[in-house]
């Protein structure tokens, strides 16, 4: 064999080996990343930074701008200094409640940081005046002020966003029905003996301050979380009111203690429509209500009534401390099969004749006139009184007698239900005890007996819910971010990302709008932010993969990669060694005779074989 051929053959061999090794390594280098990509879970990227931004307390400074407009008689309209009035109000307000009260310094900065401090809420007032002579001073003298008193008062040129304060001259001769009258629309009126500026300030400013202070404290207190037991009014209020939901289902149930005594029916549909529809219509801005009703026979309560024969009216009674067990949840069908909206139950309970008349004793032991109570975050119960007392003996002879509650029968019951519903939904009645007013000023609060909620109350609720939604939305987003960060093998689909982005967008919009004073729009944004963030958090695809520790992973992959990687590495090493060697040879002897070279080759080859 000629040396040329042999070299050729050699080269050929070497190149082969190179190809093989190269290709295999190539496969590895390509294959591993491919495998890595193909087996990892899909995770859409979330905007962590933006989410974090909402956790910073300063970003949560919510400042409502309140438009106040004084409506003054023409004669003094001009000589009232608006700026002074404005400053006065603002300073008064800020004096009593420091914006973003200093609790967040005190609260420890743990990972629940964002929960422990209440948000900063401010009200910035700006005052303007209108002057009109629409009313003579007799207006306060109307003996029978009726429902539409406010409406009569309301200016034709009023815009929805501003609160009107009417300053009226009071007649010396006759006393008006009140000194200060807080209307059901966005207005209150002050009757003054003499129209002077300091009088105006003296009588009107405290009312404003009171109104908005109460609101402010109410909102703030709804965020503080304290673990220790207390029965403060705030705590009870927080216990009572439902969390915000865009939908509530309201169920009116008629529970018949014993169907053998009566077979009862009620015109509930008519009653609800005629008493409640304005209320639901007004509130539907904030959340929707799915209303339904049912009649349950054999609604026997597990609570056995005690009998009292004292003070000459024999009756059965229930004690306050036991009332919690009044509901017979095992047998009363109250749960809804389909909707997952929070249910609010209202129960009209007709006690069996064997237990009537049935009254509730308050904690002091007296009979409660209303005979009604509410269960926090659950609903309200009214125990019927009329049925008790009336034809109780009517059916001594076995045949059961029918009774139907007409719309008029239901009025007192509906009034109780409405009161309970208001408090369950967190509506605060505008009925504060005015401070820093001069004594014996008669303040009169009107209630809205048509809508069941005054504009003042509605606005307060709207603002409160707005703040709550904004905070909750940002918290939910933060929780979501935390969660996704902590569980590395959880799938995150694009729709989650979309929803998060959408929620953030809504938050931004809300904060942009908030100073505009268009509360409705702001609320809508806040609501959507909350809904979107919650949908993202509770998405069914967000269930993470089961816990699978790393050592298990190694255990699974080891049997493959270890045995495969050994020959790969060795061969590579060998190859490098050989190349070095060959180079050396080439250098030291260029022209060597065949057999000598041959011997070397043989040696090397045998050596290789051994190796």
């Amino acid at each position: 064999m000629s040396r040329k051929e042999r070299e050729l053959y050699e080269k050929h061999q070497v190149s082969n080996r190179l190809h093989i090794i190269g290709s295999i390594w190539l496969v590895f280098l390509i294959g591993i990343p491919i495998w890595w990509k193909t087996t990892e879970v899909y995770r859409a990227s979330l905007p962590y930074k933006e989410v974090q931004k909402w956790q910073n307390p300063n970003s949560l400074y919510i400042n409502f701008s309140i438009q106040l407009s004084y409506v003054l008689p023409n004669d003094i309209g001009k000589d009232v200094n608006i700026d002074l009035l404005n400053k006065k109000i603002q300073s008064e307000f800020d004096k009593n409640n420091v914006i973003g009260n200093n609790s967040q310094e005190s609260s420890p900065v743990d990972d629940d940081f964002e929960y422990t401090y209440p948000p900063k809420i401010g009200f910035s007032f700006n005052v303007n005046t209108k002057s009109t002579n629409k009313w003579n001073s007799d207006i306060g003298l109307i003996k029978d002020i009726d429902e539409n008193f406010d409406d009569l008062l309301t200016l034709d040129t009023k815009n929805d966003d501003e609160y009107n304060i009417y300053i009226l001259k009071q007649k010396e001769s006759a006393k008006s029905f009140a000194d200060i009258y807080i209307g059901k629309n966005k207005q209150f009126m002050v009757f003054l003996k003499e129209l002077t500026e300091e009088n105006i300030i003296k009588y009107s400013v405290p009312i404003i301050i009171n109104l908005f202070e109460n609101e402010h404290t109410d909102i703030i207190s709804s965020f503080t979380e304290e673990r220790e037991e207390n029965e403060s009014k705030e705590e009870i209020k927080k216990m009572r009111t439902f969390k915000y939901a865009s939908n509530y289902q309201i169920l009116y149930s008629l529970f018949n203690g014993n169907v053998n005594d009566y077979i009862v029916n009620w015109d509930i549909e008519k009653a609800i429509k005629s008493y409640f529809s304005p209320f639901f219509e007004t509130l539907s801005l904030i959340s929707k209500f799915e209303i339904s009703s049912q009649i349950q026979n054999f609604g026997t309560s597990p609570l056995s009534a005690k009998y009292s024969n004292t003070n000459d009216n024999a009756h059965y009674y229930l004690e306050t401390k036991n009332l919690g067990h009044f509901i017979n949840s095992a047998e009363w069908n109250l749960a809804s099969p389909v909707s997952t909206a929070p249910p609010i139950n209202f129960i009209l309970y007709i006690p069996p004749i064997s237990q009537s008349p049935l009254y509730i004793h308050d904690s002091k032991g007296d009979i409660l006139e209303t005979n009604a109570f509410l269960i926090p975050r659950w609903g309200g119960i009214v125990i019927d009184k009329n049925r008790n007392t009336t034809d109780a003996e009517a059916n001594t002879n076995g045949n059961s007698n029918y009774y139907n509650y007409t719309v008029n029968d239901l009025q007192p019951i509906m009034e109780l239900f409405l009161d309970q519903l208001r408090s369950l939904l967190g509506i605060n009645e505008i009925k504060f005890l005015p401070t820093d007013l001069p004594r014996n000023v008669r303040v009169l609060y009107s209630t809205d007996s048509k809508r069941g909620i005054t504009s003042w109350e509605l606005d307060q609720l709207l603002r409160k819910r707005t703040v709550q939604n904004l905070i909750n939305a940002s918290r939910t987003l933060n929780s979501l971010a935390k969660l996704v960060g902590s569980l590395s093998n959880m799938v995150v689909l694009d729709k989650i990302q979309e929803k998060v982005l959408f929620a953030l967008e809504c938050l931004d919009n809300a904060y942009k709008e908030i100073n505009g004073g268009n509360y409705k729009q702001v609320f809508l944004y806040s609501k959507n932010a909350l809904v979107a963030s919650e949908e993202a958090f509770f998405d069914p695809t967000m269930v993470s993969m089961l816990y699978f520790p790393d050592e298990h992973k190694y255990a699974v992959y080891m049997p493959l990669f270890l045995p495969i990687s050994v020959p790969l590495a060795l061969v590579l090493k060998e190859e490098f060694k050989k190349r070095k060697k060959n180079k050396k040879e080439k250098e030291n002897n260029e022209a060597v005779v065949d057999n000598k070279e041959k011997k070397e080759i043989i040696e090397s080859s045998t050596k290789e074989v051994n190796s």
Binding site: T38, N440, L546
Partner: protein, 402 residues
């Protein structure tokens, strides 16, 4: 004190009425510096307003009768103490009551004397048979349910709920077997609780587990306000109590049995605390050392009533007056129209939901990927490497030959 206040209140009421009569006006005058009206009612000391119970039996087959009896015993207790079925999520991995092997059809007893039938005539099992899976359990806790899961299968608790989670089954160190096919690990439970806390889905949570090496199951929990107790320490077994010769199987486990001995005497009004319950644990009776973990729990156990978790809370508030209403005219009844104020954002959110519709995805999509995931991970590189090595080899052989 309260009595005095009520007194004042009633006086003021009367005073108001006088006012009302004088001014012929239905509303009330308020004068500066009056007394504030007070709330009358009864409120529980703990901050919660509702109770939930999640009771899980994870083991299948007739010979695990005792596990189902454990769960049903607790179910009876919480129901007796007033938690409604709508707030109890009951998971039973098998149906022993109507099992053909059961000599006494439609009954489950936790005692060889067979005095009390736990199954009774009023029971609602929310998850049964194949539905009892790790996936469903975690979905339940975290609230991430498939679309149109019925209300009765959801844990709709809020920031004022006290939740009792009771589990029983066959377990080992840091895992509990579901249905003899899959396991849930202590890490999964800890993460699930954390997610509950993140969304404030509980106020306080009591985690109670009766299985072998029970304490290892709550060793990883790290969320606040969780109180945990288990039948045995890590490395210990838990044992069954006694056997019913006519059924031929053990009817209850020791730990649950001795818990019940206390719980049976608890009534709605009783003031017994959890500390009292824990003190009754007797190693010589239970044959294993029950574990209690309260480092995450803020309240003092001497203050925590048993009924805070095993019973329904009874907060009530008396309604003192109605809200005056004037009804619309007799003849025309208005219809309830809830004016829907919508803006573009509403449509947008619907769009998002519509784009990726959950309903049309078959169930398997939601199955938590477990071993088959690993398998695919295994197979893909193997196949890749193996095949390519083979091909390259063949090529080069042919090259060598000619």
């Amino acid at each position: 004190m309260r009595i005095f206040q009520t007194h004042i209140y009633i006086i003021s009421i009367i005073f108001f009425f006088i006012n009302v009569c004088r001014s012929e006006y239905s509303s009330e005058f308020h004068f500066p510096n009056e007394r504030e009206e007070i709330i009358d009612g009864f409120f529980s000391k703990s901050r919660h307003t509702n109770n939930w119970a999640v009771l899980v039996d994870t083991s299948r087959y007739w010979f695990n009768y005792r596990h189902i009896a454990n769960v049903l015993s607790i179910y009876r207790t919480v129901k007796r103490l007033g938690i409604p079925d709508s707030n109890i999520i009951l998971m039973l991995a098998d149906d022993v009551a109507c099992n053909p092997r059961n000599r006494f059809q439609a009954t489950v007893y936790n005692n060889a004397e067979r005095k009390l039938d736990l199954y009774g005539d009023n029971i609602e099992v929310d998850y049964r048979g194949y539905e009892v899976t790790v996936e469903n359990f975690i979905r339940l806790l975290t609230g991430r349910h498939l679309p149109d899961t019925p209300r009765s299968k959801r844990l709709l608790s809020d920031d004022r709920s006290n939740v009792l989670v009771y589990m029983t089954g066959h377990g080992g160190e840091e895992f509990l077997k579901f249905q003899d096919t899959e396991e849930i690990s202590s890490y999964d439970i800890a993460d699930a609780f954390e997610q509950m806390w993140e969304k404030r889905r509980y106020n306080e949570l009591l985690f109670m587990i009766d299985t072998c090496q029970a304490s290892s199951m709550f060793s990883r929990v790290y969320s606040p306000n969780i109180l945990a107790t288990g039948s045995s320490q890590t490395g210990q077994n838990s044992y069954s109590h006694h056997l019913d010769p006519e059924l031929g199987v053990a009817v209850i486990d020791r730990y649950t049995y001795y818990n019940l001995e206390t719980l049976e005497y608890v009534t709605l009004q009783s003031q017994k605390t959890l500390q009292y319950l824990f003190n009754t644990y007797d190693v010589s009776l239970i044959h294993s050392t029950p574990g209690v973990r309260h480092d995450l729990f803020e309240r003092n156990l001497n203050k925590v009533l048993i009924t805070d978790f095993f019973g329904a809370v009874n907060n009530i508030e008396l309604t003192l007056k109605g809200y005056k209403l004037s009804r619309g005219s007799e003849n025309d009844i208005p219809d309830i129209k809830q004016n829907t104020i919508r803006d573009k954002s509403d449509e947008k959110i619907e769009k998002i939901n519509h784009n990726n519709d959950d309903h049309l995805i078959p169930r398997n999509e939601y199955k938590m990927i477990k071993v088959d995931f690993k398998k695919s991970a295994m197979v893909s590189p193997l196949f890749l490497l193996g095949s390519i090595a083979l091909i390259s080899g063949i090529i080069f052989i042919s090259k060598i030959v000619n």
